[in-house]
Structure formats: C-alpha cells, structure tokens
C-alpha cells in the first residue's frame, strides 16, 4: 500500500498570548509573556499564585451558534474556537464535495474542569462525624446540587462531540490523553490514519485547562510548578540555571490535516502550510514520578520520528523543545538531544513554554503551529528568560531573541508525565 502524503491546511489557537495564530506568533517573536496572577479562582494562598490564563475569551466571538455549545466546558470552548479558525483557513467549509463520512476527529484533549465549589461543599456537607463520606447523603444532596451537563462534559471525549457537531463530521473519532504529550500524539496518529487512507481530512490537536483548585493543587503537591510569585512574568525559565518548575497554562490548538492528493483534487494547493513527514512514540517505562535520567525514552521517540521521515539529523533545521522548565525535564531533554544529534550539536532548539506556560494536553499542537510559522516566516522563536547558563543545558536554545534562519524542516518534542514521549517532524511542502 502506498503511503499517502499528509499536509496541514488550517490552524487555529486560543492561548494565553492570543486568540488567533498570528497574534500568538507575533507575541512569541517579540518575547511576550502570557503569565499573570491567577484570576480564574483565588489562588493567593497556594504555593503558586500565578498561571498562564486565556484572557477575555468569549465563544460567541468565534462561532455563529454559541448556544449549541452552551454546555461545553472551558477547555472545550477554546477547542471549538480554535477549530473554527483552522476550518476557515483550510477552506473545507466551502468545498461542497467534502465527504463527511471521511472527515475524522483525532484530539488530545484533557478532562474538563471540575465544578469545584459545588463539588467540595458537597464533600464537606456529606461528611460523617466518624471521618468518612456519608455516601447516602452524598447521593441525595448531589442530585439537588450538581449539574448533569457540567459533570458529563468532563469526559475528555466530549470535546470530540462538540467538534463533530460544529462541522458535521461522521468519520473516525478519537481522543487520547497521554498527559503533556497528548496533542502531539493525536497529530501523529491522525497523520498515520490519513497515510493509510482511513480519512480524507482530520481535525486534530488538543485542548486543556487544569487551572482549577484541584489541578493547581495536584501539580503544586508534586512540586512541579514554579513558585516565583514575585517574578511572575519571567517565572518560566526553560534551560536556565534558576528554573524551578513549569507554569500551568491553558488553551487549545487545532490543525486540519488532509490527504495531499485530495487537497490537489479540490484545487486547494495554495492552502498547504506544511507536510507532516515523521512521527515517533515511545515510553520511558521507568517510574511514574520521574523521567528516565538516561534520556533513552525521548531519544527513542526522536529516532523513531526521524526513521519514519526517512531523514538524517542534518536535515533538521529547528527543534521545538518540550522544555517545561522543570529541573529534570530540561536536563534530560538536553541529554537526549545530544544522543540523537551528537554531543556538539548546533541545531537550534527553543521552548515557547517560556512565554506561553505549559498548556498540558494542548501544548504539543500549539508548539507544532509555531514550527509551521517558523517555516513560513523563516524565523525561529526564542527561549525567553534564559540568562543564567546551566552546565547541564549547553545547547543553542535561541536565548531571549527570535532569530532569522533558513527553516525547511522542524522537529517538535512532547514528553508526558508517566513517561510517554512523542515526536513529530514537519517540512515545507514542495508541491
């Protein structure tokens, strides 16, 4: 069976730096910070009082019929808006021969935010004096107080349902949640489905918001987050010696992937933004709490992607790092980079998480969009807040200032909590 070519024809994003791709990209090139004091809820007593929030967002500004999505959770509204942007750019909505049975959805969306105030007061009110939950009272009160939609919409595949409704999709539908690697994985597996001819087009990417009391608590308890509460704007410091953890972000990024032949058939070659040529997936199989310090897991994913792309390391012009700014990630990722690219590699690498924070499941898709833009504009986004060298992180991270470069092919890395690693490779599409 001949492997079909897979191209990107549309992109959309809602994130802490912007509500569209161009604004986001401009912000990244200017080194802007999307970080601020957490306002979604009062986090002033938490170890981390700040986050990377989507601001001033209203779904009605992005869709014709926002009421159809009135039950959508916060991250789901981001996904719908991002998908509408991507859809418009692809021109698929105006293509009347589009076979909706072959229009798929493959997302890496997170779970919806908990209805926290309601939920926690229910736990408190249904608490027995003997320090156990009174399940009977919990059930009785829960029926009175909890909203059915708010609860069911927390299932991560409900985002798929909203996108299917918005675009009339009837093709294959998946959601994956490999933590911080989810949307990279979704894009990779979606590309493989198109290669095999299982769909003509797939709406792919991810969405997530863990900026709620249990999400923030969970990461704070793991001591994974930055606690630089006095230096919020510059708190996310990938590869810098003073880094102290990632900054919790939220958002969604959606890309339209299409069978190249179908794009040509519909006369839309001008819509092609880039081609996905490589995907690799691996597991550390090490510990749930730590990355494998050898870097072998990340190395395996990068090598698998290179082999899938039938490419040599010399052909990679830029690597979009996972670069979370945890002490361990950046050191292990650097080590893995050296294993793949050689100990003295000069391949430029940067982490836009320095500006966007960590969008968790949505991070990978957002970063892939920056790779597409780097190819379009021949310029690489910087790693900001990188001022103090770390002897363990001694590669070219494009510190603090964007850089003009000749960019044809990019690699994007994502590594999930628990050790699931994914890598994508895209290239400018020669038509």
């Amino acid at each position: 069976m001949n492997r079909k070519r897979v191209v990107i024809t549309g992109m959309g994003t809602i994130n802490p730096l912007g509500h569209d791709v161009q604004t986001t990209w401009t912000g990244l090139l200017e080194g802007k910070s999307g970080l601020s004091k957490t306002e979604i809820f009062d986090a002033s007593t938490f170890p981390s009082t700040f986050s990377a929030q989507v601001k001033d967002f209203n779904l009605a500004d992005h869709v014709e019929d926002a009421d159809k999505h009135r039950h959508a959770g916060r991250h789901c509204t981001f996904a719908i808006a991002a998908a509408v942007q991507a859809w418009k750019q692809s021109g698929l909505g105006r293509y009347d021969k589009l076979d909706r049975d072959r229009l798929g959805i493959y997302l890496g969306s997170g779970e919806g935010s908990l209805d926290f105030d309601n939920f926690i007061s229910l736990v408190v009110d249904a608490w027995n004096e003997d320090d156990t939950l009174n399940a009977v009272e919990w059930g009785r009160l829960g029926f009175e107080r909890m909203d059915m939609h708010r609860e069911i919409e927390q299932e991560s595949h409900m985002v798929v349902a909203h996108l299917a409704a918005e675009f009339g999709a009837r093709g294959p539908a998946f959601n994956v949640l490999t933590a911080c690697a989810a949307s990279t994985q979704a894009l990779g597996e979606a590309a493989c489905m198109i290669r095999r001819g299982e769909a003509d087009a797939i709406i792919s990417g991810g969405a997530h918001s863990m900026i709620h009391p249990l999400g923030l608590m969970g990461f704070n308890r793991l001591t994974a987050l930055s606690v630089k509460n006095d230096e919020i704007a510059t708190a996310s410091r990938p590869f810098d010696a003073t880094r102290d953890g990632f900054v919790l972000g939220e958002g969604a990024s959606i890309l339209i992937l299409e069978d190249y032949d179908k794009v040509i058939e519909r006369g839309a070659s001008d819509k092609i933004l880039a081609e996905i040529i490589g995907y690799g997936s691996s597991a550390d199989a090490f510990r749930i709490t730590d990355q494998d310090p050898s870097g072998d897991g990340a190395t395996a994913a990068m090598r698998a992607a290179l082999s899938d792309a039938k490419m040599d390391i010399a052909q990679i012009d830029y690597v979009s790092a996972h670069g979370t700014a945890t002490v361990q990630n950046d050191q292990v990722e650097t080590l893995a980079m050296k294993q793949v690219f050689g100990p003295k590699t000069t391949v430029p690498i940067s982490s836009v998480k320095s500006m966007l924070g960590h969008l968790i499941a949505a991070a990978g898709a957002t970063e892939l969009i920056t790779c597409v833009m780097a190819i379009r504009d021949q310029i690489l986004p910087p790693t900001t807040n990188l001022n103090t060298p770390d002897p363990d992180c001694d590669l070219d991270y494009i510190p603090n200032k964007s850089r003009k470069a000749s960019v044809t092919t990019c690699m994007s890395n994502s590594m999930g909590f628990g050790g699931q690693n994914n890598t994508l490779i895209i290239t400018a599409c020669g038509t």
């Binding site: 299932e155 595949h157 597991a283 909590f417």
Partner: protein, 437 residues
C-alpha cells in the same frame, strides 16, 4: 510498503463475570448472573443500586515485589488495568520485565502499550479527610486549603488520577518501551486501542502491544454522574442480577460495571515463529461519529452502521461473510433501539440469521473497559466455536431483529464483528477472523 498482519495471541480480562480467561468464559457460557447489589459503598442515596463489581481485585498480588509500593498510588481503574495486563501477557506466553529471572521475549523498544481509560474519579474519603482541615463554620475555605489544607494529601495525589497512568504503570511493570498511547473515548476506547495497535504492527512500529481498555466508575462520584445522566436501570433494585436486560422488551436502563479487557496484539509472522496460540486475526477496523452526539440526553449510537460497514469493507468482506455479531447492548431502551436499527441497516434481512450476543446482562456497562471486554468475549466465542447466551434477554424489544438467544449455540464462526459506541456519539467496530491452525 506491505502491511504486516496483526493477530491476537493473549487475553487478559477482569470483570464481574470473573478474572482470567477460563473463569470469564465459563461464566459467560453458563449465563451467570453476576450483577449484585452495590457493596462498594451504600448506594441507598441513588436510584440504581445494582452493580457489576470485580470481586477480590488486587494489583498487589500480581505486580513484582519491587513494585508493590507503587500500588498505593493506583486508583482502582489502574489496578484493573494492571491485573488485566498481567493476565494477557501470561496467556500469550510472553515473558516481560515483570519476571526479573528471565529475559524478555520481545525487545523492550518493540513492545507497545495502548490502554484506554476514562475520567477517573477521585476517592472522596481521602479528599474529605484533607478537606475537613479547611472547613470554617461548616464552609470550605479555599485560602486555608491553599496554604495548608492540601498538604494533608499525598504529594503524588494527582498521579493516581491521570488516565495515562493505566498505560504508564503497565509499561513500567512489563518494560514496554515501544509506542505508547492512552485513548479516552468512552466505550469505544478498547476497540480503538486494539485497532490502533494493529496499525502499529502494520507499519512495523512494534512487534507486539498490550491493548484494550479498563475503567472502574463504581465510586460515589462516578455513580452520581451516571445517575444524573439518567441511563441507569432504576426498577430492579430488588433483583439486581436481572437489572440490565439488553434488547429485551422489558429493558429499562443500564447497570454500571467495573472491567478491564486487554489483548496482546502481535505481528502474525512473529507469533507463528514462536509457536504462539493464535486466537484470531485482526481483519478489519472502522470508526465513525455522529454530530448529534453532543446532545447527551438523547440516545445516540454514534453512526454505528457506518463504523461496522467500514470495518467489514476494510476486511475485504461483505456483510454476508459475517458469522457472529457482538453488540454493545447497553440495555438503555433508546440506545438498544438505535443499535439494533444500525445493525439491521448493515445486514438487512440477514440480521435475523446471523447469531448475535451481548454480555452486558452479566457484566453491566464497563465504559472505557467495555469494548476490550466485549472483544475478549468475541474472540473466545470464535475460539470455542460457541456463542454464549445473552443473559436477561427473553423477548426482543419492538423492532429488534437481532438473533440473540438465552441458550448457548454451537456454530462455525469464521468472521466475527464486534462494535461499541460512546455517550457523546463515537463508534468503532472490529472484524476478527478465525485462524486456521
């Protein structure tokens, strides 16, 4: 590029119908009534009190001694997956890192893992213990929680509840360093995971993978959510064993069960060369969705007919070639009606002649564990050339022409199709082919 064929060489299943292939199959064949009154917590505050519980579930018993400490950070969903994975590898005769004495049968980087999962419910007893330290005048105080209250929870709290932890624990225990995914797509997750793993084999990204799904929603939070949704049977609390009645004229809703179904999906050539027991060949796959699935209060089966048709075509077959239909059969009246219509749409009048089955009368609805377990049931039916009875089915509901039976039937089964659909409107189907030995 030639696709490599994928086959199923191991089954790991745990549900109210039993743990391990032998017990599970025996229960299905005998038409065991395994739904009981919920004894995990007092369900008196809920309209449905029946449940499909796994008895004696223990990951501690199956993990290597060195990994026992990690069981503490396993939500019950994770334990279900860990137990099912252990059974699957053993059934397949594959030596993994779990056995420190021996060498792995497959290079770690060629062993994949794809365990479907759902929205894991946090343990309220644990959370409540911590939350009560932040209560002032009967009200929860977020400020207190932020600076001190939350410190009463284990630092690893979050890791218990991330859905990819089902896969991650399995990869660590068994040394599976190959492709690794976690599909969270409700009841379709098991089929999607198995099919995707077959694609990994096809494109030579792995030699074998453990794939399927697991979920355990029988918690006060999980039952509350499903009760609010209104799909559960509320008229049978005095006879829980017959509360879930798929496709029966008296069906009134579904029952929540716990379950894990993981299969070993392996490169056919490799399986043959090591002399493995080959249960079945993964012959075809199809998936679809329905734009109407967004309305969760309306019954929806996710364009199931489209998924089944695609799977049959993908296998290079026509509907007339199929010898067994394995349904989902939730027992929710509107869903049963849509599902039986979907099957009829694909098979036409032949629907009356092709034997069909549902296991939900025995296991209840298993959410992300659903289609891994139904796949296991379908594989075993082919392997044993016997179709187990559909428990609690007596008289078909109006319009249902599926050939279900309350007694076991011996049949020559070469091709079986197994399908599933999720709340939210996704569907998936898989065609299996019996391997001639």
């Amino acid at each position: 590029m030639v696709d490599r064929q994928a086959v199923i060489t191991g089954i790991g299943v745990t549900s109210s119908a039993g743990t391990g292939t032998e017990e599970f199959w025996k229960t299905l064949l005998e038409g065991g009534a395994c739904l009981t009154a919920n004894s995990i917590f007092d369900p008196a505050g809920f309209p449905c009190r029946a449940a499909g519980q796994i008895e004696g579930l223990s990951a501690r018993k199956v993990v290597p001694k060195s990994y026992r400490k990690a069981v503490k950070v396993m939500a019950r969903d994770i334990e279900v997956a860990v137990v099912a994975a252990d059974l699957a590898f053993k059934d397949a005769g594959i030596v993994t890192r779990a056995d420190a004495e021996k060498e792995m049968s497959i290079p770690p980087g060629r062993l994949g893992c794809n365990v479907g999962a759902g929205l894991i419910c946090c343990e309220l007893d644990e959370l409540g213990q911590a939350a009560k330290t932040s209560v002032t005048n009967g009200k929860f105080d977020l400020g207190t929680w932020g600076h001190s209250g939350m410190n009463n929870l284990t630092p690893l709290w979050l890791l218990k509840y991330l859905p990819n932890m089902l896969s991650c624990h399995v990869t660590i225990i068994h040394g599976a360093e190959g492709p690794s995914n976690c599909i969270t797509c409700g009841a379709t997750s098991g089929i999607l995971s198995v099919a995707e793993s077959a694609r990994w084999i096809a494109r030579d990204a792995a030699d074998a993978a453990v794939a399927g799904g697991a979920e355990a929603k029988l918690t006060p939070l999980g039952v509350l959510r499903q009760s609010l949704l209104g799909r559960l049977a509320t008229d049978s609390n005095d006879r829980p064993e017959s509360a879930c009645r798929p496709f029966d004229a008296t069906h009134s809703g579904t029952v929540m069960g716990e379950g894990g179904g993981l299969l070993i999906v392996e490169n056919a050539e490799r399986a043959k060369s090591r002399g493995a027991k080959i249960y079945a060949e993964i012959a075809g796959f199809g998936a679809a969705c329905d734009p109407g699935g967004i309305n969760v209060t309306e019954p929806n089966c996710g364009s199931l007919d489209l998924a089944v048709s695609k799977a049959v075509t993908d296998a290079g077959l026509t509907p007339g070639d199929i010898d067994l239909i394995v349904t989902q059969g939730t027992g929710v009246p509107g869903e049963d009606r849509l599902e039986s219509e979907a099957w009829e749409k694909v098979f036409g009048d032949a629907i009356c002649d092709i034997p069909a089955m549902a296991i939900t009368g025995t296991t209840g609805s298993l959410f992300a564990g659903q289609s891994g377990v139904t796949l296991a049931a379908g594989v075993l039916a082919m392997w044993n050339q016997t179709i187990p009875p559909t428990v609690n089915f007596n008289t078909p509901h109006d319009g249902c022409r599926l050939s279900l039976a309350s007694e076991p039937r011996e049949r020559n089964i070469k091709y079986a199709v197994i399908a599933a659909f999720s709340v939210g409107g996704q569907s998936a189907a898989c065609v299996l082919k019996r391997c001639e030995s």
